[in-house]
Amino acid sequence: MAMDDGIERHLAAGRHARAFDLVVPAYKDRVFRLAYSILKERAAAEDAAQETFVRVWKALPRFDGRAALGTWIYAITRNTCLMELRRRRPTVSFDDPDSTEAQHAAASIATGPADDPERDNLLRLVEALPRNQQEAVRLFYLEDRSYETVAEQLGMPLGTVKNLLHRARKRLMEVARPDEVKAA
């Protein structure tokens, strides 16, 4: 990526602040979308994106270029999100409608147009998928159906991402009522 070349030139010259000034606009949206696909809640994803860039800022002088800059930033994003999920874990209960996880899931369903039962049903079916499939599905559609971007952001081989998405969408085809699917 041309932008990354510019950033890496600044890094090689020890101009970390200049490099960071380029990192934020280049990566903020993708970092946010990755965080959203994992945390499923806009405010939490934005907090995680802030925290990610603070960590990037602190660690940038130690970035050695062994991994691509994007790979490194996405790994920090995933770790930040996993820490947030771990922090929430004591209150996680899928059976308890008042649990944090259930509230986040409800919030993710409630962010679209109201009174759309087909949409809500489809989102509930997505919520029922295994977590790694959910993340891949959310990110895939957030990233304009780019398998390569999803693979890079989730730190997975391309084939793994394709298989995850294939299994997820086949599962959704199996469980969604055909009339609702067609109408969606």
């Binding site: 903020k28 946010f32 994803a45 800022w57 602190k58 949409r119 989102l123 294939h166 969408r169 969606a184």
Partner: protein, 179 residues
């Protein structure tokens, strides 16, 4: 329900049908798959279901955007972190914290001393009042006090007072010290 899985020879076409739908299949392979789909009702149905779920997901999944002030807030946070640490500020902050803790300990000690005094006085008054009442009401007891066992009874009362004071001290030691 597993009607959505293609079986037999058609199972090989699932990934091709997905790539055809997404426009990523090579032209030659796409032509072969289109020809197959034209002649295979099951693959046509599967392709239609897949297209529906794909369109449904694209429409249903939220696409949130970052707040407009995201970068501004981040820059403010970074600016805070980038400020050089001032040693005299740190020292003054530590001194203030130390003084606050010492003052809290002093307040706690004063409160305990007051509670000790009040508690001991209350126990002593209660025990003496009880003893006096007993002595006034019981002639036999009064005789005892005039007799040779007087010292034993007074000693017993004194021991009771001491035990009560000890019990109060034990209770007091469980009270929070600070504040």
């Amino acid at each position: 329900m597993n009607e959505m899985s293609l079986t037999g020879p058609c199972a090989d076409y699932e990934h091709d049908l997905v790539e055809l739908q997404e426009g990523s299949l090579g032209p030659e392979r796409a032509r072969v798959i289109r020809l197959h789909v034209e002649s295979c009702a099951r693959c046509r149905a599967w392709q239609a279901e897949f297209a529906a779920i794909d369109a449904g997901l694209a429409a249903a999944l939220p696409s949130p955007a970052l707040s407009a002030d995201f970068e501004h807030r981040l820059q403010a946070r970074i600016a805070d972190l980038a400020q050089p640490v001032n040693r005299s500020d740190l020292r003054a902050r530590a001194d203030r914290e130390h003084e606050r803790l010492v003052e809290a300990l002093r307040r706690g000690a004063r409160r305990h001393a007051l509670l000790d005094g009040l508690g001991s006085a209350a126990i002593a008054i209660c025990v003496l009042a009880l003893a006096r009442g007993l002595l006034e009401q019981a002639d036999a007891m009064q005789l005892l006090f005039e007799g040779p066992q007087r010292m034993v009874i007074l000693g017993g009362i004194g021991t009771a007072v001491a035990l009560a004071a000890l019990a109060w001290t034990a209770v007091r030691s469980r009270l929070p010290l600070a504040g």
